[in-house]
């Protein structure tokens, strides 16, 4: 502990703190722009200058470490002058028309000129108006005029990437985005380029973010003090008036998020104290207000779907389910609160119906905290990309130099994480689980696996002892025997997976769908492809399924409800209601309870503990033949909300990964004369699909990759033939 004096006030500080941080803590305001908590101080904006006794020149307090006995002044006339000087200079390149406009007072009321110009020439034309750090500082430093000539840098506004756009004409070069990208996200997408008056922020060679390793985490957008970086979806939604902390349900990690509310509407979602991924940052608000979302109960009357009141809808369900007691199959999404899951189990028991969720039930799970990998451990990543889908987990894994982790990737596909791993073993497609099994069981590795003995040995030596974390895609790694020191996490699984594994289900979703005795299907947030007819089809969801139904019960989204969920670490996470359910939609729990009420069934009794019946499914051996010459890799897609692929609902997600396409190796595509984006037919023993192609070198030769999805009714790797039908 040491003592220093700031503006005559004695304050205590710890070694390693900066003067700025201490002043802030003591409630002494020091203007700042480039300072960003948690990253390396930059000392570039020059606004936080202070005077230290005994020092000739003013120094930046954001970079100045405290020293015992230091005497600091933060508000001398010189400091004020220099701060005004720097800010005025910043404004000489930052469109500030409104700031010095004579009509600025009336404009606030009448908005005469708002949005009449194509470029942002002043605050009134900027999405950040009223929520801008420059404006705050202008007020604080009482700047009313800019004595310098103004220069509009006239750089093209970058609108080519999904989710956010960039107008670097508004950029003040504080470097916060760069440090967030490099230090917080370790993405390294952004950096400064050029020097002198040409200095600018951007990607290497000015490439689009899509081609620059960007995670689309939005960290840069969230730290930008100006309107230079702005989220496309919410940019004109104004300044949030309140923020509600809740949990993102779009994957099994369940990150905490802040729901930003303005005028009773969710405008966007931002990280709380921890990092989140593209889904949680950019995927939620557009989902909630998606034009395709159904918010009224719909009942089929004759050939028509008719909007009905809840009373009528509920009466219809109760009647139907009663009539089909013992002949109903229930499929439900894990992406709802545990209470809703408990209730649906109770309802299922009452109705003697079979119940299942789309999960890999035989997946091994040995939960651990994904934010705390033990020092010196080996992180084994199998068949999952992580950069695009589990970036926040990867961030912890990558605390490399500090934690001395080793990242080993086993994947036939060249994923982005493979490219940054310490070691990447690329077995032949489908051989990943063989490889992992041998790795721990010992023994030599077969030639057919396609991995060099040398790589295999160094991998085996690495995992021989000490903590190992296995992160894998649940769909193609099954029935694994692993030593105790290996913690296991099926990454591409769903929130509440542990909850459902604990409760057990009657069967896998696939088998429920194949079950001939089911006459009535009640789906809750699951939108499978149906291969047979049902007598009754009840859908409870937010978006329409791909099949016809008899009744649609509009479910509220997870930002519109209270409740709890269990994440893959086994942690209970809370959902907090931030807005009223849209239209006439209702929480899943409410709907299930109302059905229970109508059926006179007590759903509060949580007695159900069914024995899991999911059989240990064996990995099928896949052989390519003359007829089906290509190996089709099928990966579970973790970009799904209640059975709907995010990419089908939001253009940005489609462009992000093209997970709605079949990825074909480029050499193979050339042979087959398939162009990027062309529609192809994929024919296998059990499948016949048509979908667009994505040509890429990320999949190995003679193979293709599909992200599995309920609506495709495809699971597990298989051999196929691909035909080009339209280019």
């Amino acid at each position: 502990m040491m003592t220093l004096t700031i503006n005559k006030k004695k304050v205590r500080a710890k070694k390693g703190e900066t003067v700025l941080e201490v002043a802030q803590r003591e409630g002494i305001y020091v203007p700042k722009l480039c300072y960003l908590k948690g990253v390396t101080p930059y000392g570039g904006c020059r606004l936080c200058l202070v005077k230290v006794k005994g020092w000739e020149k003013p120094v930046t307090s954001c970079t100045l470490l405290v020293e015992d006995g230091m005497v600091v002044e933060t508000e001398t006339p010189l400091l004020k002058r220099l701060r005004r000087f720097s800010l005025q200079l910043i404004l000489s390149e930052h469109p500030h028309a409104c700031l010095v406009c004579e009509k600025r007072i009336e404009c606030a009321d009448y908005q005469e000129c708002i949005q009449k110009t194509a470029i942002t020439s002043g605050c009134k034309f900027c999405a950040r108006n009223g929520n801008c750090e420059l404006q705050e500082l202008i007020d604080y430093l009482k700047i009313e005029e800019i004595p310098f000539s103004f220069k509009y840098r006239n750089m093209e506004i970058e609108k080519c990437d999904p989710f956010f756009e960039r107008d670097y004409n508004l950029c003040i070069l504080c470097g916060r985005c760069i440090r967030a990208c490099q230090e917080i996200r370790e993405a390294g997408t952004l950096d400064f380029h050029h020097r002198g008056p040409e200095t600018m922020v951007g990607t290497a060679y000015g490439l689009p973010h899509l081609e620059s390793g960007c995670q689309f985490c939005g960290a840069c957008v969230d730290v930008c003090p100006t309107g230079a970086l702005r989220e496309r979806y919410s940019k004109w939604e104004g300044v949030p008036e309140k923020s509600v902390q809740s949990t993102c349900l779009l994957c099994n990690i369940g990150c905490s998020i802040d729901l930003k509310i303005n005028d009773k509407k969710l405008i966007n979602t931002t990280p709380t104290h921890e990092q989140i991924c593209v889904r949680g940052r950019f995927g939620i608000a557009p989902l909630v207000y998606h034009p395709k979302r159904i918010t009224q109960p719909l009942l089929k009357k004759g050939d028509r779907l008719v909007q009905v009141e809840w009373k009528e809808a509920l009466a219809y369900v109760a009647e139907t389910l009663k009539a089909y007691t013992g002949k109903t199959g229930i499929l439900f999404t894990p992406q709802m609160p545990v209470k809703a899951i408990d209730s649906i189990y109770a309802l299922a028991r009452h109705l003697k119906s079979t119940i299942a969720a789309p999960l890999a039930l035989d997946a091994v799970v040995r939960p651990f905290d994904v934010k705390k990998f033990e020092r010196g451990s080996v992180i084994l990543i199998v068949n999952t990309d992580m950069v695009s889908d589990f970036a926040p987990v990867l961030l912890h894994a990558r605390k490399h130099s500090k934690m001395q982790h080793r990242i080993i990737v086993i994947d036939a596909v060249k994923s982005r994480v493979a490219e940054m791993a310490d070691l990447w073993l690329q077995p032949r497609p489908g051989k990943e689980s063989d490889l992992v099994r041998t790795l721990f069981a010992g023994g030599r590795i077969g030639k057919s696996v396609g991995v060099s003995q040398e790589d295999y040995t160094s991998c085996r030596d690495a995992v021989k002892e000490g903590p190992v974390y296995l992160l894998f895609n649940a769909d193609n790694m099954k029935g694994m025997k692993l030593p105790k020191r290996v913690s296991v996490l099926p990454l591409a699984s769903s929130i509440n997976t542990l909850k459902i594994l604990e409760m057990g289900t009657d069967d896998s979703a696939e088998r429920v769908l194949k079950d001939k005795s089911v006459d009535c299907l009640y789906t809750i947030g699951v939108a499978p492809r149906l291969d047979r007819k049902y007598k009754r089809l009840i859908v409870q969801d937010s978006f329409p399924p791909s099949f016809d139904f008899d009744l649609f019960l509009p479910a509220a989204s997870f930002v519109e409800i209270d409740g709890t969920v269990v994440n893959i670490n086994g942690k209970i996470k809370r959902l907090h209601k931030a807005t009223e359910p849209l239209g006439n939609s209702r929480p899943d729990l409410w709907i299930i309870k109302e059905i229970g009420k109508a059926l006179n069934c007590d759903l509060t009794k949580r007695t159900i503990r069914r024995k899991r019946r999911g059989k240990k499914s064996q990995l099928r051996k896949i052989t390519v033949t003359k007829k089906y010459p290509l190996y089709l890799i099928v990966r579970k897609n973790s970009f799904v909300y209640r059975g709907h692929m995010l990419s089908a609902l939001m253009k940005g997600f489609e462009r992000l990964r093209y997970d709605n396409r079949i990825w074909i190796n480029s050499a193979t595509a050339r042979k087959l004369k398939i162009a990027d984006g062309a529609d192809v037919r994929v024919i296998g023993q059990a499948i016949d699909l048509t979908l667009p192609a994505r040509i890429t070198d990320h999949v190995p030769p003679d193979s293709a990759l599909i992200y599995a999805h309920p609506s495709l009714a495809i699971s597990g790797d298989q051999s196929v033939r691909i035909e080009c039908i339209k280019s």
């Binding site: 101080p41 930059y42 000392g43 570039g44 904006c45 020059r46 200058l49 020149k57 003013p58 120094v59 930046t60 970079t63 100045l64 470490l65 010189l78 002058r81 220099l82 000087f85 720097s86 800010l87 200079l89 910043i90 000489s92 390149e93 004595p147 310098f148 000539s149 220069k151 003040i172 070069l173 470097g175 950096d191 400064f192 050029h194 020097r195 002198g196 008056p197 040409e198 200095t199």
Partner: protein, 609 residues
Amino acid sequence: MRKKARKDFRLHLLVCAGTGCAANGSFIIKDALEKEIVKQGLEDEIAVITTDCQGFCERGPIVIVQPDGIFYHRIKKEDVPHLVEEHLFKGRPVKSMMFVPSPEEPAIPRLMDIGFFKHQRLIVLRHRGRLDPENIEEYIGFEGYSSLEKALTRMTPPEIIKEIKASGLRGRGGAGFPTGVKWELCRTSPGKKKYIVCNGDEGDPGAFMDRSVLESDPHTVIEGMLIGARAIGAHKGYIYVRSEYPLAVKKLLIALRQAEEYGLLGENILGTNFSFTIDVVQGAGAFVCGEETALLASIEGKVGRPRPRPPYPAEKGLWGRPTNINNVETWANVPVIIARGALWFSSIGTKRSKGTKIFSLVGKINNTGLVEVPMGITLGQIIYDIGGGIPDGKEFKAVQTGGPSGGCIPRELLDLPIDYEGLSKAGSMMGSGGMIVMDEDTCMVDVARYFLNFTQEESCGKCPSCRLGTKQMVHILNRICEGTGGEHDIAFLEEVGRSVKLASLCGLGQTASNPVLTTIKYFREEYLAHIREKRCPALVCKSLISYIIDPQTCSGCTVCAKNCPSAAISGEAKKIHTIDQTKCTKCGICLSVCPPKFKAVKKTSPAVQ
């Protein structure tokens, strides 16, 4: 013995092969000399040796005949047979190839009698033109590496530091920080791993002292670093050389390899427990990379951008470890100080600035080149005694010291003794030793604009004050040069200039406004002429000058009209010509083609109003 030892020859011909002379064809001269010597059968008596830069580049190719020190300059290939025959064979030095200070004065035969050399004091450049930098034996022959031996075997690290402190040596790279104090800070900084760095970025346009030292005497720098490493406790050093200096890199690499072979680098140097290695790093080319924190970032492979200090490199430098960084010239001083003692070194110079400083003397001056002078010499002595004054009988106007962000010092201050404090009191600085002489034809507003334009483009872009403040100043200066400035612009420039100094992070921003502030201070009337009278007294600013034809002397020869690219000149043969000012683009061709006997075209900048 493969070769005859040096002293076995009767005469040595030292042919300068520095970058300047080489460009003027010194290798052709060397070939011709050798051939001619063989022809005359003198090859056993006379040796031809190439040397590095003699510093008098402007006069190249240069040949010096030793041991008498006869200096020949601007030698042409045709002169060689005559020279060999007369001087080498018959022993009669050739007057016509000797240096003549001015047409009225006699030729000066001996190097040491030429003003350019006479007033210099060679400490850093002590081996100038005397040794082959690619041969370590020659360096050792001149007592090289004996200081290292002394430092390693007869001095403790604190004693070395004490000696350097007592010598009063200050950093030659810019700020003039006392070198011994810096070493001590790094030595006492906690940490096991420490680094030392030699700053050879030399980004100042026109400056080439460091290049010259690295190319001609790399071992001095290496020896200096070895001594420094010993004193500080460092085991690894980096020499950062700008990428435009491939020859320096080449010579350094050769020198490092030889030093390694001689056990002077590596493990257990000279049988002691001291180990040290040096790597050469090639710079990224930006001026700002010479700033120490930017340079360290650049060595680490990051973008070279200055960061705030503290922490100073001595506490947290390369990879967060204590690092001592010194300029090439600073390092080169070290072996001499150790060899000859602090007392001797501190006897040279002024009260607070000891030793010598190398300047690269350029601009409107008769003798351009590198000069090493004792601290305390006056600007006037450098310009007139060494530099030989201003060419073409023009008037001296100002001298700019310290590189692009140094100040411009006027005639009134020519008696100013050169040292760190003196120069900064005059509004300029020592910098790394650039010295640009300007004559009466220089417009001081234009000069200020020129230098500011350089710094604004080289600003790393971090600080608004530097990135945008300099830009605004350039903007105002442009206005003044175009004749559209207002009187308030001067005060505004001064205000902005002072704020830029105080608000900027690194030395670049902190000094960028020097040229503006000093020109306003010393040449205010020139600014006022531009503003009030729309007149450029030096006839430089294009917008404010015009070309006219003097009707008194014009003979109507039509040459100007024929050559004017804009067809702005009209007039019939034998009649007086006139220039249509609306068409004139001020290219000045008419002025240059008008026959000297008429001198009818005049450049003017008349006062408006």
